[in-house]
């Protein structure tokens, strides 16, 4: 079973869930969980094989010889030369693994959902299957099919199971995504015919350069179309409202993997196929990314709603990904890919704390109404601090490895970019600590003054909250462990990323 089975297994899970009676909620949860775990195991098993293979190639030849592990490549719609072509490389593989982890932990964090369980997990797994597909698709048409497949379930998950202005948030998110994919759609059609109407295959298109004057206008179409979903400023406004409206698992998915669909699409669909277009627009992308980084962090600082803080922090962190991609050097781009993985885990964890651990217990997310939760649910506090530290870029966590490389790459491109992006570091520290202070520490502390000052009286408003459950604990520990593992031993992921980024920079697909 190679890694493409993650897609089929997940769809199988959807089918099974649809066949189960809607009353047997526990069974449905378990079917979903088993599906997620099996898919993750399939992905992981092959991941380590692949990693060994990459390391062997590097030590033997000094570089990667063949960029992709081909999975399937068959003709699908001959009338348009569409192929069902799946493959993975060092850039997409970490994201496949990320999706597996977010899926499993998302299911664990959704264990308490009681209404319409069957539909929830059916939509959830459909989304997951679509995301797996996007990360493996090597045919633009196929990529687009999986991409769209992932959009629609989001609407229902948010609109049915969400909270605050859920219908508005869901519709806004879907329409933004869909307008983005309309741009991509136009771009794909133009690419196909500009390349002579021979193939939608990404590798084949990359081998046949497209005329520069076409590249210059098609590149921004595809790039911006995907970047909408990556939360690129100024098209990010769907992200905070969507995240806030979404139920926990959906926020995790949105910030954890769906935003990565966007940045991955930018890299695979736009940057690879249009080198000249990229050259023409890279300064714009870099500058916009820096604006997004600083803007997102700044806005996060002044939010009153706990979830909005995390929502804007996602915008800020995804800005790092775009900045890293725009640097077009090995260190910056590798950092960007690693940042996709790292932020996926960090954001999932933060949203799990906000949505599941705090909101589901206290039923409020207003910073003013919260406070003193460290006493009542200490586990949530610890989780938040670890995720927050990773988010700030504390050494020892994956976020540090990723953002450090992006800073170095950006500095190579232009020192001003790195300096501009660095403005976000104090802002990030401030909003994380501010949130920690307001939510987990006692209310009568003077604001802004660190944490853990040792007040003994417990908050009366939240004294009787239910304890953190086993599924929550398990999922949080899995995610935290990942942050530390990748932070301490980054080459587990970075070697394969670097090998493929190197190939990319050499101009080979």
């Amino acid at each position: 079973m190679h890694v493409d089975w993650t897609i089929y297994l997940t769809f199988l899970g959807v089918g099974l869930i649809l066949l189960l009676p809607r009353e047997s909620k526990t069974l449905i949860r378990w079917v979903a969980l088993v599906t997620g775990v099996v898919a993750l195991l399939v992905a992981l098993k092959n991941y380590f094989n692949y990693n060994d293979w990459v390391n062997a190639q590097i030590s033997a030849h000094g570089a990667l010889q063949d960029g992709f592990v081909q999975l399937v490549n068959v003709s699908w719609i001959p009338a348009l030369n569409v192929k069902y072509h799946l493959a993975v490389d060092g850039i997409s593989y970490p994201l496949v693994v990320l999706n597996g982890f977010v899926c499993v932990t998302g299911i664990l964090f959704s264990w308490n959902i009681e209404t319409r369980v069957k539909e929830f997990f059916a939509f959830f797994l459909t989304l997951i299957a679509g995301v797996y597909g996007v990360f493996m698709a090597m045919d633009l048409f196929l990529l687009f099919v999986f991409y769209e497949l992932a959009i629609i379930p989001k609407y229902f998950i948010i609109a049915i199971w969400g909270s605050t202005r859920k219908e508005y948030g869901a519709m806004k998110l879907v329409l933004y995504s869909f307008v983005g994919s309309a741009l991509v759609f136009i771009g794909i059609l133009a690419t196909y015919f500009a390349a002579g109407g021979r193939s939608f295959d990404i590798l084949e298109l990359a081998r046949h350069p497209i005329k520069p004057d076409v590249q210059v206008w098609v590149f921004p179409l595809i790039f911006v179309g995907f970047a909408v979903l990556a939360g690129m400023w100024p098209f990010h406004t769907w992200a905070p409202t969507g995240h806030v409206a979404a139920p926990t698992a959906a926020s995790m998915l949105l910030a954890g993997v769906v935003m990565k669909l966007g940045s991955y699409g930018c890299l695979r669909g736009a940057m690879l196929l249009f080198p000249q277009g990229l050259e023409h627009w890279k300064w714009w992308i870099a500058v916009i990314a820096v604006i997004g980084i600083v803007y997102g962090a700044g806005v996060a600082l002044v939010q009153k709603d706990f979830k909005f803080i995390i929502g804007y922090s996602s915008v800020s962190h995804m800005g790092f990904v775009l900045l890293g991609l725009a640097t077009l050097n090995l260190i910056g781009m590798s950092g960007a890919v690693l940042q996709m993985f790292s932020h996926g885990i960090v954001a999932s964890l933060l949203f799990a704390v906000v949505g599941r651990m705090v909101y589901d217990r206290t039923h409020t997310r207003q910073l003013d109404e919260l406070g003193g939760l460290a006493k009542v649910i200490p586990f949530a506090c610890v989780t938040f601090m670890i995720a927050g530290a990773a988010s700030m870029g504390m050494p020892g966590f994956s976020g540090f490895v990723a953002e450090y490389q992006i800073f170095v790459g950006a500095f190579h491109m232009h020192p001003g970019l790195a300096l501009g992006a660095a403005l976000s570091i104090p802002l990030t520290v401030a909003y994380i600590l501010n949130a920690n202070d307001k939510v987990f520490m006692e209310k009568d502390q003077p604001a802004g003054g660190g944490h853990g000052q040792g007040h003994e009286e417990s908050s009366d408003a939240h004294a009787a909250l239910p304890p953190i459950t086993l599924p929550e604990r398990t999922a949080a520990i899995i995610l935290m462990a990942l942050l530390v593992i990748v932070g301490v031993y980054p080459s587990i992921m970075l070697n394969m990323i670097k090998a493929n980024v190197q190939l990319f920079l050499k101009g080979a697909p």
Binding site: R22, I77, V145, E148, A159, E167, A182, F185, L189
Partner: protein, 506 residues
């Protein structure tokens, strides 16, 4: 005067004959015996006769498949694989329509209802066969008049009567336009056969040289524009769709659309080949592609924007079908063989999807007490299976992969970009279409929001007959299959469309 080879005609039109006979049997049976039965039994008995007749009509069609192209009655009617295939499609659509009707209260005149429905199918099948202007007109009238009558079948309801009158008035005017246009074409070319018109057009020196021909072309397109309901000739559609009994709406939106688009394709691609002009950006040239491009753009914009503010499901689907007619026109504007194939593919997908959607609406609205959007609140809990089907059909209309609607739309747009791919001459129309699809997602999701998100006051489960669930489920499977694996049907159509546009330049 050549002697008419009656035997060949009988053999060639076997399916139409069987349907006519079945209609007469349905009428008589209702008159003679079924009238004494209870209403539902009566509807089911006569409906079964209609279904049996339709299924029997498949046999002669099936037998003729694979044979050589033949023409009947001096070239007025043609039979080849493409035509037979589309006649089968019509039969399939009619079968589902009858099944939906059997579950629906169509009033006291059950026998007449099914008989007229079958006559309509005969009209559509003749329309698909027709290759000559007068036959086209007669077949179109047979279809249209059947549909006018069917629209008025909600005897007690004022809006049904209003819809029928409106539909009839607009239809009559459009027929007048069409006939007027066709008469000019005949006047200039001296023939009514499509193939002969194509040859004659070449000698006239094109539209610039012959204002009469230009007038004829314009009026013909206006006439067809009414029939397929594109802006600005769409005004009848929302009222007719809303007022007609829902199975009839399904029939108007699918069967008659398929037949009309098919014959329009034939008239334009065969008869008016050489008069296509150009609709390339910055290089407009008078001809039918230019006219069609403008109507396509208007239909997509107006249809989608007007659909946003609708509260009635059938009205919403009516505006959506106006928008879809706009998308289909993009394939016609491409004026290539790929364009023809994409149009043929899309009308099949579109017909199946809409038939399914209206079928679900018919089954649910008659039990929920209305066809306003709010009547569908909480339907996902009351009728989970039909709601799932609704989800599939509506998302297919919105063009979400992996459903048929997505690939159909993609292929339409691709065929338009392919024409003049060097300069992206038709990209403007495609860009408009793609953005209007994004707009359309909004109102499709609003509809699904009522079904899936909002909780209804009434929570009682809705039970629908199994045969209907199975039939609609099969339609949904077909919609999915056309999206996931369109290859076989595309190859089939591609092979066929070659015969349609044989000798066509692009």
């Amino acid at each position: 005067m050549m002697p008419v080879p009656y035997f060949d005609v009988l053999r060639g039109l076997g399916a139409e004959l069987i349907l006519t006979l079945a209609a007469v049997v349905a009428l008589t049976l209702d008159l003679v015996s079924a009238r004494r039965e209870e209403m539902t039994v009566r509807s089911r008995t006569v409906g079964t006769v209609a279904v049996v007749g339709l299924l029997a009509a498949i046999i002669p069609l099936w037998q003729q498949l694979g044979g050589p192209r033949t023409v009947l009655l001096g070239g007025t009617l043609a039979i080849d694989d493409l035509i037979l295939f589309f006649k089968l499609v019509i039969v399939g659509l009619a079968v589902i329509t009858v099944l939906i009707s059997m579950d629906y209260d169509v009033g006291r005149h059950v026998g007449e209802y099914y008989a007229v429905l079958l006559f309509g199918a005969v009209g559509m099948m003749l329309l698909i066969s027709a290759e000559e202007l007068i036959t086209i007109f007669v077949a179109l009238e047979l279809t249209s008049i059947s549909l006018y009558i069917l629209t008025a079948f909600h005897k007690g309801e004022l809006r049904s009567q209003e819809a029928a009158v409106k539909y009839f008035m607009f239809g009559a005017i459009s027929s007048a336009f069409l006939l007027f246009g066709l008469s000019y074409v005949f006047g200039v070319t001296g023939t009514t056969s499509l193939q002969a018109i194509r040859d004659a057009v070449k000698t006239t020196g094109g539209l610039a040289m012959s204002p009469l021909l230009a007038t004829g072309l314009l009026f013909t397109i206006v006439g067809f524009g009414f029939k397929v309901a594109v802006v600005p000739f769409h005004l009848w559609a929302p009222d007719a769709y809303e007022g007609a009994p829902t199975p009839v709406t399904a029939y108007i939106a699918t069967g008659s659309k398929v037949a009309s688009f098919f014959v329009l394709l034939k008239v334009l691609f065969v008869g008016f080949a050489g008069l296509e002009g150009s609709a390339f950006w910055g290089n407009f040239n008078s001809g039918w592609t230019m006219l069609l491009a403008v109507t396509a753009a208007l239909s997509m914009v107006l249809g989608n924007c007007a659909a946003i503010v609708q509260h009635n499901v059938k009205r919403l689907l009516a505006y959506s079908s106006i928008a879809h007619a706009g998308y289909i026109f993009i394939g016609l504007v491409a004026a290539t063989r790929t364009g023809a194939t994409s149009v043929l593919f899309y009308i099949i997908v579109y017909a199946l999807t809409n038939l399914g959607a209206f079928g679900v609406v018919a089954a649910l609205s008659s039990r929920a007490g209305g066809d306003e959007m709010r009547d569908f609140d909480g339907m996902a809990k009351r009728a989970p299976f039909l709601s799932l089907l609704m989800l599939i059909f509506v998302l297919s209309l919105a063009g979400i992969p992996p459903l048929g609607g997505f690939f159909g739309k993609f292929y339409l747009f691709a065929s338009a970009v392919q024409r003049d791919a060097e300069h992206f001459g038709l990209l403007w129309l495609v860009v408009l279409g793609i953005f209007m699809s994004a707009v359309s997602l909004y109102y499709y999701l609003m509809l699904l929001k009522h079904v899936y998100v909002i909780d209804g006051k009434d929570q009682s489960p809705i039970v629908t007959p199994t045969y209907l669930n199975v039939a609609l489920g099969l339609v949904a499977l077909a919609v999915i299959a056309l999206g996931v694996y369109p290859k076989p049907i595309l190859e089939l159509l591609n092979g066929f469309s070659y015969s349609l546009v044989a000798g066509w330049v692009h």
